[in-house]
């Protein structure tokens, strides 16, 4: 037997294995998206992945790096999957392609590739699309059961590739409904809006999509791909904010905590975007701070800005602040009594 001294821990996984676990964890959410909103999301994911991998290979070729080595770590695939799930089903093909190219070339490779990007690539791609093409990116398909029939294959393909519009397949998302109707009773809203009235807690489809992402996130947590600090602090903060500003009666007051937790991209953001190992804060205390601030920003932007959902903006702002947060939350090193901030000079 080999006698070795401490440390006994060893690296269990490489980047590729972690990223493949993340891909597996997106399955429940993607499944729920497909079940409730049709095959459009699957198509988005496929197209975004193909574009992302091609762009990654192209840039690696240009930079004279080993192409297969970098493709095998699957980070481009994860970016493609996350972006594809964030985009509305049946959106035009060029939207997906432009977003994916922006994410990989602009947000990831121009900064130096995997591990060097200060911002989450998928979210940069999404925000560029959201700012540039506000109309097509806000057209979400109606969840199953709200409209009479689902979008068929032929008409979906015609809208994606040729821009032939499908008749009335969209519906306002629960967060849209909330931000557009400002002075009605919450109870009326839940009864009149088709999405909210057919759902159990937070609108048909959306609640199950979020529960799917929650399951995937818990799986990743169980696998110790990331720590609990960022997602839990973000979700707790969002709950507290929603509870503080909710009065149960008027829709002026913002939705209930349950509505905020189970609609929009809450769970996707908490477990798949915020926990990006490259762009988030690195210390546990830093992750807590980051999560709290994302939760506050998310609620503030959902409630008081013109955008119904704001995961991408909130996470990008905190990506921006992550080095700054890390600077003030240096963990206690072994042998020292208390943790010091990076500001302290003096004895090392």
């Amino acid at each position: 037997m080999l006698r070795v001294s401490s440390p006994h821990t060893h690296i269990r996984r490489d980047t590729g294995q972690i990223m493949r676990l993340v891909l597996v964890a997106t399955v429940p959410g993607l499944l729920a998206l497909t079940l409730f909103f049709g095959w459009g999301s699957l198509f988005n994911v496929a197209l975004a992945c193909i574009t992302a991998v091609l762009c990654e290979a192209l840039v690696m070729k240009l930079r004279r790096r080993p192409v297969m080595f970098y493709l095998r770590d699957c980070t481009a695939l994860v970016t493609g999957v996350l972006l594809g799930m964030a985009l509305p089903p049946y959106c035009p093909w060029w939207l997906v392609v432009v977003g994916s190219m922006t994410a990989i070339i602009l947000a990831k490779q121009l900064y130096g590739g995997m591990g060097f990007n200060p911002f989450n690539p998928a979210m940069v791609g999404y925000v560029v699309l959201l700012i540039s093409f506000p109309v097509p990116i806000t057209q979400w398909a109606a969840p199953a059961g709200v409209l009479a029939d689902q979008v068929g294959f032929i008409e979906g393909m015609r809208q994606i590739w040729a821009g032939v519009p499908i008749d009335g397949y969209t519906a306002a998302t629960p967060l849209d409904v909330l931000s557009q109707n400002t002075s009605v009773l919450m109870e009326d809203l839940y009864q009149t809006d088709p999405t909210l009235s057919t759902g159990l807690w937070a609108g048909a489809g959306w609640e199950w999509v979020n529960i799917g992402f929650l399951l995937g996130g818990l799986f990743l947590l169980y696998q110790r791909v990331f720590t609990w600090h960022a997602p839990v602090s973000m979700l707790v903060t969002l709950t507290i904010m929603a509870a503080l500003f909710y009065d149960g009666g008027s829709s002026n007051s913002g939705g209930s905590p349950l509505l905020h937790l189970l609609s929009g991209a809450t769970m996707l953001g908490a477990f798949f975007i915020l926990t990006d190992p490259v762009t988030s804060a690195v210390s546990n205390r830093g992750r807590l701070v980051c999560g709290v601030l994302v939760g506050v920003l998310l609620y503030v932007m959902r409630h008081w800005s013109n955008y119904p959902d704001a995961i991408a903006f909130a996470v990008l702002l905190m990506n921006f602040a992550a080095p700054f947060i890390d600077y003030y939350t240096v963990p206690r090193t072994y042998g020292h009594k208390k943790s010091r901030s990076a500001l302290d000079k003096g004895e090392q």
Binding site: V98, L106, V128, I131, S132, F133, P134, P136
Partner: protein, 238 residues
């Protein structure tokens, strides 16, 4: 000061190798703020060209009469006076463009590319070289402005040379080239981030071209001489 002045070198400096926008990265504020379309970029570029040339001339003329201690205030006063002239002229003749460019016309005073040329070149050189320097620096800045304006206009709204009548009168109304018809508009290109992105890509392009030229010169320099008498050595060479 009897040495001959290399005007070619001065112009090349301004237009390419020491370009105020792409190499010195001076005057970024107008560069980023007004390059949403070709006509805006051209308007501000021309105004800057006139100011930098005339300020170089004026500074060169008075360079012996101004002591070192007060030279910067003196230069700034000259530039401010010239900018005011330009502002009044634009107000009189191209009023619509004047109101679009707004605060960025008076802000030409604070364009450090202009003060930089006055201090670094015009205050040390004679009238003619200073004029050439001002012209080429101004042209270099103008060309980059127009290039960024063209790229952003093309990406953002799918047209080129739209609204040129603001600068060239009614006859230029038909100059608009619609490159992509039925174009959705990549709005990010027109918004502020687009300016940073396009400027960054242009700087990268210039560096790529420069390194390509350098490599070619390097290759030309080290061309093997034919028929060299290299002795083949075996074993260790001490």
């Amino acid at each position: 000061m009897s040495e001959t002045v290399d005007y070619g070198q001065i112009s090349k400096n301004g237009l390419w190798s020491n370009n105020p926008a792409l190499v010195q990265l001076l005057g970024l504020c107008p560069l980023l703020a007004v390059t949403g379309s070709v006509v805006n970029a051209l308007g501000l570029g021309l105004a800057t060209l006139v100011v930098v040339t005339s300020s170089n001339m004026a500074v060169s003329l008075i360079r012996k009469g101004v002591s070192d201690a007060v030279r910067l205030p003196a230069f700034v006063m000259i530039i401010a006076a010239l900018t005011t002239c330009i502002e009044l002229l634009m107000n009189a003749f191209t009023y619509e463009l004047y109101s679009i460019l707004g605060i960025f016309i008076p802000l030409i005073v604070t364009n450090c590319a202009i003060l930089g040329r006055a201090d670094a070149f015009a205050s040390k050189n004679k009238l003619l070289p200073s004029t050439v320097d001002g012209l080429s620096m101004g042209m270099g800045f103008l060309l980059v402005l127009v290039a960024i304006g063209a790229i952003r206009e093309l990406l953002g709204s799918g047209t080129l040379f739209a609204n040129m009548h603001l600068l060239f009168g009614e006859g230029a109304r038909g100059w608009t080239v619609t490159v992509f018809s039925n174009y959705q508009g990549f709005l990010v290109a027109i918004l502020p981030p687009g300016a940073f992105l396009v400027a960054g890509f242009l700087i990268a392009l210039k560096n790529v071209i420069d390194s390509g030229i350098e490599r070619r010169q390097e290759a030309r320099k080290t061309q093997p001489v034919k028929g060299s008498k290299r002795v083949r050595t075996t074993g260790a060479v001490s």
